[in-house]
Assembly symmetry: C2
Homo-oligomer: 458 residues x 2
Amino acid sequence: MEQIQEQDVLQLKAWIHGKQPMEVRNYLSTLMPADIAMLFEDLEEEERLIAFRILPKELAADAFVYFDNEIQEDLIQAFNDVELKEVFEQVFLDDTVNIIEEMPANVVKRILRSCRPERRKMINELLQYPEESVGSLMTIEYIALRGSMTVRQAIDKIRKTGMNKEMIYTCYVVDDQRHLEGLLSIRDLLNHTDETPIETFMETNVISIGTHDDQEQAAQMLSKYDFLALPVVDYENRLVGIVTIDDAVDVLQEENTEDMEIMAAIAPSDHPYLKTTPLEMWGKRIPWLLFLMLSATFTGMIISNFEDKLAAYVALTAFIPMLMGTGGNSGGQASVMITRGLSLGEIEISDLPKVIWKEFRVGILCGVTLAIANFGKMLLVDRYLMHNPDITILVITVVSLTILVEVIAAKIVGCILPIAAKRLGLDPAVMASPFITTIVDALSLLIYFQLAVAILHI
Amino acid sequence: MEQIQEQDVLQLKAWIHGKQPMEVRNYLSTLMPADIAMLFEDLEEEERLIAFRILPKELAADAFVYFDNEIQEDLIQAFNDVELKEVFEQVFLDDTVNIIEEMPANVVKRILRSCRPERRKMINELLQYPEESVGSLMTIEYIALRGSMTVRQAIDKIRKTGMNKEMIYTCYVVDDQRHLEGLLSIRDLLNHTDETPIETFMETNVISIGTHDDQEQAAQMLSKYDFLALPVVDYENRLVGIVTIDDAVDVLQEENTEDMEIMAAIAPSDHPYLKTTPLEMWGKRIPWLLFLMLSATFTGMIISNFEDKLAAYVALTAFIPMLMGTGGNSGGQASVMITRGLSLGEIEISDLPKVIWKEFRVGILCGVTLAIANFGKMLLVDRYLMHNPDITILVITVVSLTILVEVIAAKIVGCILPIAAKRLGLDPAVMASPFITTIVDALSLLIYFQLAVAILHI
């Protein structure tokens, strides 16, 4: 694979400014649409328009889909009506809808005006589905056949009408009312003789999804069943569209990014990192930071309550960060594994008892290991090596016991929270990571001070 | 979509024990292979073998690929040689290799013995590629054509030889030495008349990948370019295989899970959550917990060093958890965004200066907001509402200033660490999240105590 290099950009700029359109055209024609889009990001607005106009029509439309929304908007504003029409006649319907969804109203109007009335109607229908729904992700450019057709008739229909359809390798068989009856692949067609009616060999056992289901569900089904496309039906099982694997991959990647951001206490964002302004980032990061900072008031209050006792045993303070860190890490491990398991469909809400029982055992194993390690470390390092007279065997016992109890508690809280969130219809990732630390922090301190009071009699 | 329900399992078990093979066969034939695999997980070993033997041959082989490794091994152990042959004749070559890679030596021998010599040779070749390499992911079941063929000859060849190939929708054109010359899709074939030589319209501008490249790179290229398959070439640009989109999706999902686990301080695991024993989980989680616990010794030592001063100003202790939490969250936000950006290819190592400059500005924005919020909160809540005489304006200033400085420092450390890790050839996710907290914790405490000494003159 050849990556776009800085000298490629410089060379391209030189050709543009040197008025050498053939060089620009020849060079860009060797690139994939996605790479042209990356290259265009590094051009100035005017250079971009010049280069875009030099591109072969089809390649220009293919690359257009990969541009950032801002670049798309700039280009559309600069297009005349003929150019606009040329581009959007080539762009697939679902991509057109995706672009329209991100554009300001005046641009949307221009795009819609440039389309033929029939196409405009289809776009308007697709725009009505809620964001994140299967309807908003699907394309309606698929191939529908009738069961009574022969293989030859089916191939002829694909040849005649299929060439502008997004996915021609899976064809759908519908009845008069467009009810989904079956599906077949080009592979199946090629595998049978010309005169065979397709209903004799089509797959009638069809997996489909509804227009109002979540697009993430469609993506996961495509991934689970290894399909290239998934048919989408309305409430009456009439075929209305398909979701293709390339769009499903994009959805999966976006959902993964979103989960990671939420687990790191960031409000999810659609923009790539380098395209986001510091102010936008601040907006995405500050709500959770503020919330978590203010909720730490509780941990502060717990410490304040034990202030007199801490003053008597100042040595105990030194272990607070370690105890809170260990609790937070233990709980975070559990919550992230459960959140991921829920999102991959490996764990269901009904698995809660199994999960708690498992985390309880993991908690005991981890807690005992860490408590023993801490006991040894405090005895050796703090007591003998550093000759700290405050670190008595009783203090070591308090700290080690706290680790044991808090790790078990953290594992159990960490596995319950995401499942409870899912049960309540919330995003498990939200409840999981940012929340868990606050709760486990408070829990750890309470355990610590209770054990200290009980064992050290302070 | 119909989910597998508990009553489906019970019904299936009843049929198996009631010796009603036709019911079993009819019911299972309505399911997708991936769903049969899920259902089989809930059967006992003996029930599973009975049900598997009742399945139509082709469906049985299709479902076999989706079983867990343990179930596959159990079944293979129970198969006689004829059954083994029947299954592995149907399974695609790359899936066979994946299965073999997870089986103990005696099972591998039986599988290889059941294959025809020619196929056995291909399997052995594929087994030699390093794990995680493109070679170990690719399949060698693709369609290769010659440029001089006409459309009719190409379609005939696909009909004759292509039906057992995994991906027939993209065909590759090679010369005598199997050098990759071009590619074309079935769509292109159907779009041209029977007598056209395919070299006149094939795409010669082909993106390919090497056998020894990382499989994650192949997956990302398939996702970036929206391909259904990616050709794989050896060092001399000879076509040796293809990577298909369904395998690429699996790789992307595995890599995402791995990144999330590493960010949560867990050693990555291949097993689904519910299949992992508590002891295995302990093994994956305890190394980082131990390391992080012991490295917290440093934060403990910093506190011990300031113990006398803390004893004089005990009120300062109450804010340690909040300060460490805020620093850790701020750094974690930056490191997770950068790690994800690196993994999606949105950020390159050379972007480091841009990234630091951006995080510096985000750090100032977040730091100022949090410092002001904290100042107001401490003034109102701690000083006036709770009448805590120890919370002087100077103490409030120390805490608020610490927040400002630590947030900026955490953002910068958080963005540098993952990029530095990548530069050193390490996994950015490892360096990022687990490490960041330890470093930022120590940093926050040092800033806190230095400011306390300077401002409070203790």
